[in-house]
Symmetry: C2
Subunit: 371 residues, 2 copies
Amino acid sequence: MPAQVSSERILFTRGVPAVEALPNKLLSECFQAVLEGPEAKTVLQYGHNSGYLPLRQLLGEQYGVAPEQIVVGNGSLHLQDLLSALLIKAGDVVFVEQPSYDRAIKTFRRRGAKVIGIPLEQDGVNIAALEQALARQVPAFMYIVPDFQNPAGVTTSLEKRQALVDLAERYKFWLLEDIPYRTLRYSGNSLPMLRELNANRVLTVSSYSKLISPALRVGYLIGPVEIAKKLASLEEETILAPVLPTEAAVVEFHKRGYFEQNLNNLKQLYAPRLQALIAALKTHLPDVPFAEPEGGFFVSITLPKEAVKGNLLERARQTGLILTDGRDFFADPFSDDEEPDLGTRFVRLPFCALTPEQINEGVKRLAALVR
Amino acid sequence: MPAQVSSERILFTRGVPAVEALPNKLLSECFQAVLEGPEAKTVLQYGHNSGYLPLRQLLGEQYGVAPEQIVVGNGSLHLQDLLSALLIKAGDVVFVEQPSYDRAIKTFRRRGAKVIGIPLEQDGVNIAALEQALARQVPAFMYIVPDFQNPAGVTTSLEKRQALVDLAERYKFWLLEDIPYRTLRYSGNSLPMLRELNANRVLTVSSYSKLISPALRVGYLIGPVEIAKKLASLEEETILAPVLPTEAAVVEFHKRGYFEQNLNNLKQLYAPRLQALIAALKTHLPDVPFAEPEGGFFVSITLPKEAVKGNLLERARQTGLILTDGRDFFADPFSDDEEPDLGTRFVRLPFCALTPEQINEGVKRLAALVR
């Protein structure tokens, strides 16, 4: 008999920020400053087609690149869509980590690529498997979330980062590194970005969705000038320009020191939630190994084969535990010949929007289902 | 010898609002109210994937449709791009008025359509030419700007509006009516929207770019629920959701009565500019006929054949008069067998961002070049 559980619904679904952490008052001040300051008319008029120049300058300083190397879009998914339109030609493949971010997989497919999953281990993709895949076909690009990966929570080791850029150089393909969680590190030290290892082969995308607010939809891409130019031109043809006042508010948010302040708040809120999740997994599912992340939004587990009986999602739902279908993160379920349906026992656990109590209760319910 | 002209640069280029008319203070109040009010957290979190529900409710009341029939996007061009992805199949044609909005033409082409121009007369498209084109191939849709057309300034007559929806019904194609200027009427009375004549065959797009601020990039599409659903789903896959705080600010702008107030300001500012342009054309180019609009952003003229010598754009530039290449508005220059290069003598004159003095001076310079 499972232990008695509370009837509260617990959502381990998408990676959403904690609602209490959304800095509405600070943003209100920033919008006011922008719309009543000297740039007010500029940020309400047509213009700044690759993104608001002061934001590109600010990012340029942060990343040590020229503003001409940066394109701002309405969220990073938007930029991934445009980039896919630019880079994917008929017959192309795109490589992703397996598992990977479900919306990215869908985007690459919708833009015409065959998406191939390279198995992800606890320290990054399996490099031998990547080499085998490269020997068959070189991709238009490979999509990587090197820090606190979505969905697995894995951080790619320095050794594997180096191997990735070396292979990208040797086989001449782009690495698209997506780093929205990188700054949300609760312990330990950051490894170099892929672009720091070889900027000529790397396109970097990130956004403020997890760092300020997802509804602002301010994302950006950094790459060589010739790619940034083509992307900006496609962006102009498609949407004219990204929304300006939100970009200007982000610049103001930085200028006032709110970015650091808010980041610290987020870390203080999210770090104990991550610790609660790790502790709950070790308590309630002691035999299930998992990568212990030092930041980000996600921990994931792969349940033992014998543990998953029936429809796990539906059985979880009946206990008020809402999970995402793990299969969505597997671009290429048949790449694992031994078990084509690995996704059915893959469970992503986004922890940021849940209290430690909810996290513990959720993991307890999950454990009861697979006992 | 041309008369001596001032050296000030005059831009008759794109249709931009007057910078002094951008309501930055009012918008600042609205952002503040939104970000410090009860909806603050909602408009900063993920959600509202087809657009902010209160905005869709407000538009639903205005247009007499259900919120489920409305999809909000980051500007109407964005929605035209998504709609094109949805409706245009390989081998499809799209019909446009000839001349038509250059960015729309490019969008339909980039999404794979062959774009066919139907000659535009002073009261709307030539219906006989449209019938001939329909006899050859029925388009995926026909793109129409029925009110104060961009670039020509033409308003389609009631008779031709009826003919358009009748043909759309008979041949079963969509009419995509784009009405961003409709509300900016400085005199006379509005004719019914195409959707009022037959909502089953009409998709309506519009935006707040000309009515509040272009940098907000708040546009919307209205159509049957099944189209709106498909479009919203493609939008979610592509960008997750349109930017939320800007949409919420637009709702607040309406709630506070600022929309009507601002619209009246715009009319008071723009009406004399339109009058100045009409007067200048009658004074300096008395033999060139043109459609006299009662609203909007544009008047256009087609210069007499014999008047255009050499490269008009370059010659104008040398006098500080900056024009847009008229050929960009002609999707299909060869549809007019008598004169394939009609666009070279087509001049669009956007008047909203120029003072009456600048308008008069600009037309004087243009007249001196073609005398």
